[in-house]
Symmetry: C2
Subunit: 191 residues, 2 copies
């Protein structure tokens, strides 16, 4: 079975290697649009489904397409990737000393002998941050790590020292819910 990850994220690629030795990465170029009215769980599922669906429609034959997306939520507000350093500072200042939610959508679309199946899910984790000083935030932004990440931080990089605890799936917060993906792959008989 041809396996396609609908992402260019090096973190998602690294994590999917736990499940598959070989796969392709074809990033979706669909713009991520966040609809505020949808709620964060459905937003995450919708974004991952859009990614998987986009690449599924651009490919053919027997294949499994995997899309995943992550949103960071605090007090009902969804935090995406920062626009600039000031945006990253504001987000990190908001997350400082608090517990926020990370919702990770996962969508798998499989075609085999003309039969198409789809499975999707949302994995919710809670992430608690240390109280951060402005100096810690600015040093972190200068490292460049926050700039391409939802919520302006990476739980697996330099950011790990600021994360007091995670209740849920660490790998979902990192970008791909490995365990849920493994389960869904078994349901779809591709593992």
């Amino acid at each position: 079975m041809r396996i396609i990850l609908a992402s260019k994220s090096p973190r998602r690629k690294e994590l999917l290697q736990t499940l598959f030795q070989e796969f392709e990465c074809i990033p979706s170029e669909k713009e991520e649009k966040i609809t505020k009215k949808l709620g964060y769980k459905k937003t995450a599922m919708l974004l991952s489904t859009q990614k998987a669906g986009d690449i599924f429609s651009k490919t053919s034959g027997d294949r499994l397409v995997i899309g995943s997306d992550t949103v960071v939520v605090l007090n009902g507000k969804i935090y995406g990737k920062p626009k600039d350093k000031q945006g990253a500072f504001n987000t990190l200042k908001t997350l400082s000393g608090k517990t926020h939610v990370v919702a990770t959508g996962i969508c798998l679309i499989k075609e085999q002998s003309g039969v198409v199946q789809m499975e999707s899910a949302c994995v919710v984790s809670k992430v608690t941050f240390n109280k951060l000083t402005n100096e810690e935030i600015n040093n972190y932004i200068e490292s460049g790590e926050p700039m391409d990440k939802a919520g302006s931080y990476g739980c697996q990089g330099i950011g790990k020292k600021f994360v007091k605890k995670i209740d849920g799936d660490f790998f979902a917060v990192m970008g791909l819910p490995v365990n849920k993906t493994y389960e869904l792959c078994k349901q779809l008989d591709v593992l």
Copy 2:
């Protein structure tokens, strides 16, 4: 300040690199003795303190020595590293489908200008496993990953696909509680 990690674990070394650019690794050769009567939190703290203390006593001058150790606990029983494949199988069969506790002890001993300070803590996390088939367990054991790890699994390697969720500090389960270590280093004025 000379920084010494009292461990040869590549995982602990990797994680400590989040906090320090340069440090030495000097593994303690003290045999790990688990006293059942102590309770798992104090056992983890004691083991980490023994490691740090061993290397502290073998070195001199201004330095910070860091020791860490992890124990896996289910129903009051402590699971260390497996003795052989059968031991790994038995442990993984026991952890299958259940939530167990991982207690990670961390101990820092610092000497500066003749003044010695020590800080230690225990970080407790809960890890929930998928229900594993015998085939999944045997394949995992054949990968070799379980053999040098407390509880016979690694949450960061192939094992990540079996871990449904972790409530607590992922990096503590992996081997070093990065966030707590960061906090204690700030308390000791070494960061």
